[in-house]
């Protein structure tokens, strides 16, 4: 369940260019928001490998590639894709309403690592 009241208004939709990511600090967590054209997705902005800023990665379909050493993460589930090690980042519910991007910081979730392995 996504706690309905915890949506936080972040910025206008235009602030995040198409197929790019932007970072925002929210309640002590750094979040990367991505604009995929038909929707926005938000994940924790910290690569589990060595802390790379995922907001600066290249988007490929619904995945992002860490700019430091190329680990790839699925923006929907947060799981590392095609990785030899199980790894994941937290994903946060995100939406666009009236041209404003909101993120539900309390609704953050991580997949069970056993699943990713």
């Amino acid at each position: 369940m996504i706690p309905e009241n915890k949506w936080t208004r972040i910025t206008t939709a235009e602030s995040v260019p198409l197929r790019e990511g932007r970072a925002v600090r929210l309640g002590g967590v750094e979040i990367a928001i991505f604009n995929l054209g038909d929707r926005v997705l938000a994940i924790e902005n910290r690569c589990p490998h060595q802390g790379g800023p995922l907001c600066d990665g290249i988007v490929s379909g619904t995945t992002v590639v860490c700019p430091l050493h190329g680990w790839r993460f699925d923006l929907e589930s947060g799981a590392a894709v095609r990785s030899s090690l199980p790894a994941c980042v937290t994903v946060f519910p995100a939406r666009v309403e009236d041209g404003i991007i909101s993120v539900n910081i309390a609704g953050g979730s991580r997949i069970e690592m056993e699943d990713a392995a």
Partner: protein
């Protein structure tokens, strides 16, 4: 002289007339064609629609050919009646023409299924030039196109429409695409490949109605489902044009019946091509035409003897990146059909390769290749010649290890056909190599047209070239990544010919729509280079360094390296650098290995401010572009200097700075052969000597250490800079992305590099320089984006409108 009338100015008719002309002159020839174009290569209409060829490229026989041969050509006249007793034909213009011999080569027509709405505007077939022209006119981005029919022709039409920008759905009646050529497994791989290119495939759908009042709006299926459409192409099969045969009173089944001498049931009427039926088979591909034409030519000129015994049909899908080949009968053992055949398979689902051969009685009966068709000629040879493959059992699906590259072709006789589409034999090719100096595939295509049809003989042609041509040149093909099935060369051609200017467009039309971190930056570079800077820049396709013009560090901060041309700076610049370092608490100020200064550990949001305070241009230390020209002190101070290395290095850097390259380009200029700035291990180096400069290229001292090759020695400084520029632009245009000059020069060979740069003809050199100048004219210092960012949040961390306090 006898009068020969030919009805049908198409591929079979003209191939046969060519053969007839090889015999002693006997006929006064009149040809009727109801199309308005001289004979063209119908096969290539697919390539025309896919934008790989223009309509002007497909002509096989220009009007002069008919003139030279003394042929009376009547274009735009359809023959409507044949009187075999009175021996004349009647045209739709009312003309009556007498003949002594008549040749029917009327081909076939698309089958139009009986469904409502087929007469709507926007419904097309795909058979002739008019169709191709109409489709090109109607298709454009945003148009929804539905192709009815998932056979060879339908799929090629679908891909063509998609390349034109349409949103394409293929609707097929059966549950496998190309079911006449593929089994279910092969068909499934094909679907995957088509879908990955971005086409939708609907199987097992019978179209009931084409919707729309007068103009197409959609199609409706038997089950009531509907999909919208602005354009519909019907590719539901072909039917032989045998009507004239019937009117002439010939024996006609599906097609005009001919025997092994290519005679019809009337002694003076002959038929060839898709309109005939031979041993109960009506063919729909070109390979049989040439064989039939040769036999018919012998018969009709009174040299009756050679016989036509049928052709093993082989089909190849002509869609770039979707390799499908099928020949013979691929059905396996089935007690119902009484077929006794066994199948041998190979499958790799990750690489999407599927191969199957079917054997009967120790011989090959059929073959299917999907994803890798490189061996198709080997199977064709086995099929055509009924080779006993029992002893090859263990290597059926993989070629024998190559010991002698020319072995396959050496085994063939000179008269054996290599290119079935255009009827080119091994002998023809060898002759072209010897008499016309053919050395490359491109030259071979141009001079013999071999492999310009379906392309399945490309491998064989290459082998033949390799074995026979004295200076054979391999065409290198390296693909970018899994998102694109194309080589760099093909991609460059596609970008140019298709006028594609943005990464996403290229991905949508030729790739998997998504792209990845490998191809996106590479495509960005290629577009920039091909369009000399006039592409549509898409920052989302760039690596972070190129979005913010600084090099990302392990902690997510950035480094800033201003341009210090030739390594020469000034107290004023140094002061500004010092001030900036203090003001922004730069963590480390470091002299780099390239005679420059690096400010390390800078926050992204500080970048624009630092650049402004520095007031120096970008040193491009973060990108695949022009890094530096390292110089030594040269004539100005050094007692040994014989050339002005500082002035020359700074000038070279000025001329090339701000340009982008396949990989970084580092240069050096030194005033004498003592080489204090290490110019001989740079991508481009100028080494001063008494009265001249040596220009060297392809040097390295990083992962690899390689001494640069001498490109040329010239007397003046201007000539040295020009040689460097020529090489620089040549590298920009021909290297693969991320290929440093040390690899590039080795791959091309320095002789070739010289021939195509400094030794090229004056006009060629000017063209290279001109393209360089055009790019340079549009190139700017990337750090100016501090004033005009490409996006308001380019350098900014977003501040939330409201905050949460956890």
């Amino acid at each position: 002289m006898q009068r020969l009338v030919v009805v049908g100015n198409g591929m079979a008719g003209m191939a046969c007339v060519e053969q007839i002309l090889k015999h002693a002159p006997k006929f006064e020839i009149t040809i009727f064609g109801n199309e308005t174009h001289t004979n063209y290569n119908r096969i290539l209409l697919s390539a025309v629609l896919a934008g790989e060829k223009s309509l002007d490229d497909v002509t096989l026989h220009p009007i002069d050919w008919y003139r030279e041969k003394g042929i009376a050509l009547r274009l735009g006249v359809g023959i409507v009646d044949v009187d075999a007793c009175a021996k004349n034909v009647t045209g739709d213009d009312g003309s009556v023409t007498g003949f002594d011999k008549l040749l029917l080569a009327t081909g076939s027509s698309p089958v139009i299924p009986q469904i409502a709405g087929v007469n709507n505007d926007g419904v097309f077939t795909f058979r002739n030039m008019e169709d191709a022209r109409a489709l090109l006119e109607r298709s454009r981005p945003g148009i929804k196109a539905v192709v009815i029919g998932g056979g060879l022709l339908g799929l090629e039409a679908a891909r063509g429409l998609q390349v034109q920008g349409c949103d394409v759905t293929v609707v097929h009646l059966m549950d496998t695409l190309m079911e006449r050529q593929l089994d279910t497994a092969g068909g499934t791989y094909l679907i995957r490949k088509m879908e990955r290119l971005g086409m939708r495939v609907l199987l097992h759908r019978r179209t009931r109605t084409i919707l729309g009042e007068g103009r197409v709006e959609g199609v409706e299926f038997d089950d009531g489902d509907r999909i919208p459409a602005d354009l519909v192409v019907i590719a539901a099969g072909i039917r032989p044009n045998a009507e004239l045969g019937r009117r002439a009173g010939l024996t006609v089944n599906r097609g005009i019946v001919v025997n092994d001498y290519m005679e019809t049931s009337h002694p003076d009427v002959f038929a060839v091509g898709e309109c005939v039926e031979h041993r109960h088979v009506c063919y729909g591909l070109v390979a049989p035409l040439f064989e039939q034409g040769k036999v018919l030519a012998a018969t009709i000129t009174g040299n009756r003897g050679p016989v036509y015994e049928g052709t093993v049909e082989a089909a190849k899908l002509k869609i770039m990146g979707v390799d499908v080949f099928s020949a013979g009968d691929f059905r396996e053992a089935s007690p119902d059909d009484g077929i006794e055949a066994e199948a041998v398979r190979y499958e790799d689902s990750a690489l999407e390769i599927y191969k199957k051969v079917v054997l009967a009685g120790g011989k090959l009966r059929g073959v299917i290749l999907v994803g890798d068709t490189s061996d198709s000629h080997r199977y064709m040879d086995w099929l055509r010649n009924g080779v006993d493959v029992t002893r090859k059992r263990r290597r059926l699906l993989f070629p024998e290890p190559v010991e002698d590259a020319g072995f396959d072709v050496a085994q063939m006789s000179d008269s054996e056909t290599i290119c079935g589409c255009l009827g080119v034999s091994k002998g023809d090719i060898i002759q072209a190599i010897h008499t016309r100096g053919v050395n490359t595939m491109a030259q071979l295509k141009e001079s013999t047209r071999a492999s310009t049809g379906c392309g399945s003989c490309t491998n064989l042609c290459e082998q033949l070239l390799r074995a026979v041509a004295p200076e054979f040149q391999e065409e290198t093909k390296t693909t970018l990544c899994a998102c694109f099935p194309f080589s760099y060369e093909q991609l460059r051609e596609i970008l140019l010919s298709q006028k594609l200017k943005s990464v996403q467009e290229v991905l949508n039309v030729y790739g998997n729509r998504k792209g990845c971190e490998v191809c996106k930056p590479a495509l960005s570079y290629m577009l920039d280079m091909v369009w000399c800077g006039e592409h549509e820049e898409d920052r989302s396709a760039r690596f972070i360094n190129d979005r913010v013009h600084a090099n990302i560090q392990r902690d997510g901060t950035f480094s800033v390296v201003p341009r210090i041309r030739g390594g020469v700076t000034s107290p004023d610049e140094l002061r500004r650098i010092a001030d900036v370092a203090e003001k922004y608490s730069v963590r480390m100020v470091k002299i780099t290995g390239s005679q420059r200064i690096d400010l390390l550990g800078v926050k992204k949001s500080d970048l624009p401010k630092i650049w402004a305070d520095l007031g120096m241009p970008s040193g491009q230390a973060y990108t695949k572009g022009v890094r530096m020209v390292k110089t030594c002190v040269g004539t100005e101070f050094c007692r040994f200097g014989v050339q002005d290395s500082v002035g020359t290095g700074i000038e070279l850097e000025r001329r090339l700075e701000n340009l982008y390259t396949p990989h970084k380009v580092k240069m050096g200029a030194v005033g004498c052969p003592r080489n204090c700035a290490e110019a001989t291990v740079k991508d481009i180096g100028l080494v001063g000597q008494e009265g001249s400069w040596q220009v060297v290229v392809g040097g390295a001292a990083g992962k690899n250490v390689r001494k640069a090759d001498l490109l040329i020695t010239v007397e003046t400084t201007e000539a040295a800079i020009e040689a460097a520029e020529l090489f620089f632009q040549y590298y920009r245009e021909n290297a693969n992305y991320l290929e440093r000059t040390y690899d590039f020069v080795e791959r091309m060979g320095i002789e070739k590099v010289r021939k195509e740069t400094v030794y090229a003809t004056q006009p060629e050199r000017l063209k290279l320089l001109d393209r360089l100048q055009r790019s340079k004219a549009l190139a700017k210092d990337a750090w100016l984006e501090r004033e005009t960012p490409v996006h308001p949040t380019q350098f900014i961390q977003i501040e939330p409108m409201e905050n949460v306090f956890a």
